[in-house]
Structures are given as structure tokens and as C-alpha cells.
Symmetry: C2
Subunit: 405 residues, 2 copies
């Protein structure tokens, strides 16, 4: 018994049957005596449908109006879920972002939650109602609707769990947990029982597609116990928490991210402040840079390579090309046909041979490495996209054999 | 130059092209130097789609949740219209019911506007923005979303025009004005240049399907100048106002309403208070009764017949059958296969022969009259539904010939 926040994504509420299924999961938790707050995303393809509708009318609508449009999506799904729970005979109420007190800053389409006024939710919980809250959306100081951007509903759920001091936050999705690799690529990928916040952060940002990294950061910050579970199968999921004993496994997961493009600025004058100029320029254009590599070029020049997500490639190229003189470089090259493959695990901190094992696996599989980037608990490599799945399998296989010695 | 409230119904914003067309009408008025407030309904079939979605999940959802669901419809259309106006380069902002200060009572699905806090709208107008407001919806004292029920967007528009002291309220629709009869039934039906509030009230409630009567009542109360216009053709519409000279035409319009069912309670004891019992019972169940007729039955009993809209027939029959003993009646009969055909015109007040002319037209067309009901400015008859169109033509023809003597 306690207070549970449950989050269901768009695929979990895509049609009437799935909404009924979610209603079952919610009322199960309620019947066990828990207070239940449910965060829902928009149904299945609703958001895409809205984007199409908007694009037919305006190719670059204001973000404010886009947020008004998109936020209708959760209003639809939350009321349908409430109706399904009503049908089962349980007391329930649905609340939009503003009704639930989700206050954000004013960055439309990518707002950050500033405060949550939980008064209304707590009043409804006191009346023993199941409370359904629209994920992904909030309200700013102008009383205008904002949305939280990608992975926003996960963030809503974790933020609510923190504000309500919930006992746990369950993230329901169409996979039943976090795996050592994508089971569609690697047949013998194993589900992790638990994973640390840090590991989950790396796994989330590396394309594991289960939890958005903003929500994991928030969970870490407020010590919210997260559990990733299947919406459809009643099996244990993966718990994200402070894991003490990380000795068991060296590598927790192998991930692949195709949403990556490499840009190389070639022939930069070898004078100080060049990297600063490049990356402050990109920051000014709100372009997130991931892997960065600087190398020595010919004729006393240097090359700077870095990766951005594919949808920011054009904006990044435009910004750089317009400022090529200021940067003082010869040319700009780019490559969209790459993937980032990574291994993640807290265990590798004390095991310096891990990166080498990964490179060996790639060498054995005849896969060429384009760029390398490492952190304390991960190693990422950029490789040709058509080799990415082979790479994941080869690396997973290597560590699998190693761990099961 | 002045302040104009424009209202566009669901068929006027049904797709991208139509939204663009509406954006054109709106910005035309703005370019002429007017302050423009636009009230929109949900796009075309959105509401029906939502009703289907809801019915797949719950056959009798709470009205509160239904209002949450339905109100998403205008949120979609208003943001799309704003995007279309942005695309044309005009300053614009869309506001939901609660953002626009539309406060209502708490009768979910059939709320009445209590007050409008126009502060936000006026601030936006002061910034020279075109303001788009979601029709049909508001917010109650619990901060919950309400909807105004059928014809709600017309009501929103007129109420806003009254609160903002607008110079006029233009109701755009898929017909270009109010006609002497439905042009689809009567070939030589004529468009009325103007019509009085009272006449429009009778025409609206009698199935002319142009303006909802609640909005006309409100316009009358606050003396809002209404104009019914075509969304698609740029022609003069019909102005609804205090018309002084009504001598010109005896009958302003002939209407047909198929949304009508007759209930007869047969063999009621002829003791006082019976009619009161029947109709207070129906009022308690929120059933609106239209034409009422009481007649003498056999054996010292009487029969009471009345009409309700078709969708309230089942509820009315249920209420009466459950209370048949209390009412003290023999049996209940009903007939769904009827229509109400009416003539409306302020001119008939001083012309007692008008009703007789209508009956003569029906007699000539061999159409039997079921029930008759009259007011100062209208005469209604109930007839078999399959004769309704013939009846409209016969009556229109009769008065047409008479007026053009």
C-alpha cells in the first residue's frame, strides 16, 4: 500500500482494447489499496496525425500554437482512460496539465517543469479517486499551454512522483524491461533485473528507447524509484535505482543509435579558441552536439569532427557554412550513413580492458571504427550504419561469453 | 472599423483548404481595420469520431469526462486556424475556453455561460492580435472543463459579442442566409435580407438549422446584431435585428423538423393536477417537451399528447412507464414517424387568416394533420414524416402566390 505513479505511453493506449487493458493495470494497483496517479501520452498515432494536419496548413507554425494542438492529444487519451475505469466501477478523474498544476517555463515545445502544485491531485486522491494526468504538457506564467518535448510524458511521471513523494514510479511500455541489447537484433539478449541511474542514463541517451534521459536525470535527482514494465504482460520489469553491487556484470547493455550524423570541419587554422567558436555557434542555434573529436590535419591545420542528431544536421551545416570565414576553415564534410554503437556498465570503471574487448569484437567482425568516445561507464564507437546490427551482435556475444566464463 | 466577432462552424473548418478559406475571411476583416475575435467549432467529423471512440469504451461515460474529450476538438481546430493566419503573416493567438475566461455553471455537456472575464482577450486585442477562441466550451467553478451542448459555438460567439460590446456578430455557415424554406426542398425559396429576433427564434427552434435558439435568445437579450453569412461565397447574408417594418411579408419562412417524436398518454383520470404530474416528472428527467395537446378521452378520462426530440424519446417513455400508476393512466403510445412543419412571421399577428391558409394548402395536397400548435408568430402542425417535404412545398407555394398578388 502506498502511492504509485504509473505512466503509459502512446502505444499502450492506442485503441479501445488497449485502453481497457491499461484500465485493468491501473485498477489492479488501486484494488491492492494503493493511491494511484496515472500519466498518459497521446494515443498511438495521434501526434503524427496532428503534425500532418499542421504541415498541410503551415510549414513552420509557431511553437505556441503547435503546443496547443499537440496537447489536445493527451486530453483525448486521458478522458478515454477515465471512461474505461468508470466502466469498471471505480472512482476516477482526469486532469489536463494545467488542472494538475504542472507549471513550466515558457520554452514552447521543449518546456521544463518549474513547479508542480499538487493541491488538486492530492484533494482528488483524498477522495479515493484514481487520478489521470495528461503527460507531456503544462502551463507557463502567461497561462499558455506548453509541451515538454520528446519523452515528455516520462518526465511528467517522474516529476509528479517526486512532487507527490510517491513510493514508486512505474513506466509501462511495449517492452517488458531494459535488455542487455535490443532483442530484435540480439537473440540471446537478457533482461536486466535492475540497473543504476547512471547506467540507465547512458542507456537512455544511447538509443535504448525505453526511458527518456530527462526523466532518469530527474529520478536520480529526487531519488524516485523507477520501474520499467510491460503494459501487456504481467511480468517483472527492470528496476532503476541506486545499485550497490555492480561487480556481477561488466557490461550492462549494448546499444545502437541510428539517429546520428557526423560533421567534419576540415583545415581549421591551428590557433587557440577555434573549438570554442565552433561549439558556441552551434549552442547559439540550439544544436546539441554529442561525440566530439579533434585531430591534426595537414599544413598546420586541424580537423574537428562531431555528431548531431539527424534532424539537426541541416541547421548545423547551415550555421557552419555561413560562418566558415569566421571559423577560418577550408571545408565542411558530413556523413549521415553512420550509427553509434555503445556499451554501458558501471563495472567497467574498475576494468580498463573493457574498451579493448569491444574493439577486438569489432575487429573480429571486420567492422571499421570511425570515431571513438568514452566516459567512465560507457564506450561509444561510430561505424557505418549497415554494419551496426552486426556490431551489436558481435559485441554482445563477446561480453556474454566473457561474463559466463 | 470596429470590433467584430466571427463564428465558423465545423463544416467551415473541415479540412486544410477550408481552414485557409476561413483564415482569408478573418484577415479580410482585420485588414479593413477591425478588431477581430473568431469563435471556431471542432473540425467537421471530429466530434462524431470522439463519440465513436468513447462508445467503444463506455456506453454511458460521465458527462464530465465526455466534456474533457469533446473540448479537445476545438483545441485542434483553433490552433490550426491560428497556424493558417500565421502563415499569411498576421498576428494571431488561439485561446481555449478557460483561457478566454468563459465561465459556466457546472451542468456538464449542457453548461450555461455565467460570466465572461474578457481581460485576456482584450489584452490580446490591444496588442493588435486576431484572437481565436474555442467555441462550445468553458470552465466551471471547480476549474473543470464544461461544454455548452448543441449549438454551443453560436452561443459562445454571441455571448462574447455581448461581453466585448462588439459591433456585430457574424455567424458563418454552409448556407448563405436564412431562407423562406429549405432550398433543397423548395426550388423557389428566397433568401431573407433581414429577420427579427422573434422570427429567428421561431425559425431556429423549428429546425431551420442555421442558428441555435439559445444564441438568438442571447442576442435578443443583449441586443447583439447578428448576421448569418456563407463561409464560402462572398455575398450578403441575413441580418437578425429588431425589424420594424414587418408589413411586407405575412410569412417569413416555412420550416420542417424531423427531430420530433410524439408520445400519447391515454386514459388519464380526469382529476386536477395530472398535467402537472406528467410534465414535472419529465422536467425532473431534463426532458424538453415541445407541442402539448390535451384531449378528452372515453369514460371520463383524458389523453395528453406531446412531442419530444427523438433522442429523448426512450428516456421519456421510461420515466412515464415507471410512473404510470402515480399518473393514473391506462397506457402510453408513441410515434416516431412524424415531422413538424411550421410557418413563421411577425406579420401573422394581425392577420388571423394565416393559419387557415396553411391548413388549406395541406388539405389541397391531401396531407392529414396530426396535431396543431400555434403562437403569436408561428403555426406548427405535426404530419406523417413521408409527407413533410410535400407539405413544405405546398405551404410555401400557397403563401408565395398570396404575397406576390
Amino acid at each position: 500500500m502506498g502511492l504509485i505513479v504509473q505512466k503509459f505511453g502512446g502505444s499502450s493506449v492506442a485503441d479501445a482494447d488497449k485502453v481497457r487493458n491499461v484500465a485493468g493495470r491501473v485498477t489492479d494497483a488501486y484494488k491492492e489499496g494503493n493511491s494511484v496517479v496515472v500519466v498518459v501520452s497521446a494515443q498511438g498515432d495521434t501526434t503524427d496525425d496532428f503534425l500532418v494536419k499542421a504541415s498541410e496548413i503551415n510549414d513552420s507554425p509557431s511553437k505556441r500554437e503547435m503546443d496547443v494542438l499537440l496537447s489536445a492529444g493527451e486530453q483525448i487519451s486521458m478522458s478515454l482512460l477515465a471512461m474505461a475505469i468508470e466502466k469498471m466501477g471505480f472512482p476516477v478523474i482526469s486532469l489536463t496539465g494545467w488542472q494538475a498544476g504542472m507549471h513550466t517555463n515558457s520554452t514552447y515545445s521543449a518546456a521544463r517543469i518549474s513547479t508542480i502544485n499538487t493541491e488538486r491531485i492530492e484533494r482528488e486522491l483524498d477522495m479515493k479517486r484514481i487520478v489521470i494526468v495528461a503527460g507531456f504538457q503544462g502551463i507557463n506564467k502567461y497561462d499558455d499551454i506548453t509541451t515538454l518535448g520528446r519523452g515528455g510524458s516520462d518526465t511528467s511521471a517522474v516529476a509528479l512522483a517526486a512532487a507527490l513523494k510517491a513510493d514508486k514510479c512505474e513506466i509501462y511500455t511495449d517492452v517488458d524491461g531494459v535488455y542487455t541489447a535490443d532483442p530484435r537484433i540480439v537473440k540471446d539478449a537478457k533482461k536486466l533485473e535492475d540497473v543504476s541511474y547512471d547506467e540507465m542514463l547512458e542507456l537512455a541517451s544511447l538509443g535504448a528507447n525505453v526511458l527518456h534521459n530527462r526523466s532518469v536525470e530527474l529520478a536520480l535527482k529526487y531519488n524516485v524509484k523507477l520501474e520499467v514494465k510491460s503494459s501487456f504482460e504481467k511480468v517483472d520489469g527492470t528496476v532503476v535505482k541506486e545499485v550497490k553491487n555492480v561487480e556481477k556484470m561488466l557490461v550492462r547493455g549494448v546499444t545502437r543509435d541510428n539517429d546520428v550524423a557526423r560533421i567534419s570541419i576540415v583545415g581549421i587554422d591551428d590557433t587557440p579558441g577555434k573549438a570554442f567558436k565552433v561549439f558556441s555557434l552551434l549552442a547559439k542555434h540550439n544544436i546539441n552536439v554529442d561525440v566530439i573529436l579533434q585531430s591534426i590535419g595537414r599544413h598546420d591545420t586541424k580537423d574537428i569532427s562531431f555528431t548531431v542528431s539527424e534532424n539537426q544536421l541541416d541547421a548545423a551545416l547551415k550555421a557552419i557554412n555561413e560562418n566558415l570565414d569566421m571559423i577560418g576553415a577550408e571545408s565542411v564534410e558530413f556523413n549521415k550513413n553512420i550509427s553509434k554503437v555503445s556499451i554501458v556498465g558501471s563495472g567497467m570503471v574498475s576494468n580498463p580492458g573493457v574498451a579493448a574487448m569491444m574493439f577486438e569484437a569489432l575487429y573480429d567482425a571486420h567492422i571499421n571504427i570511425n570515431m571513438i568516445s568514452t566516459s567512465e561507464i560507457k564506450v561509444s564507437v561510430l561505424i557505418d550504419r549497415d554494419k551496426a546490427e552486426d556490431a551489436v551482435r558481435a559485441i554482445h556475444d563477446k561480453f556474454n561469453k566473457y561474463e559466463s566464463r
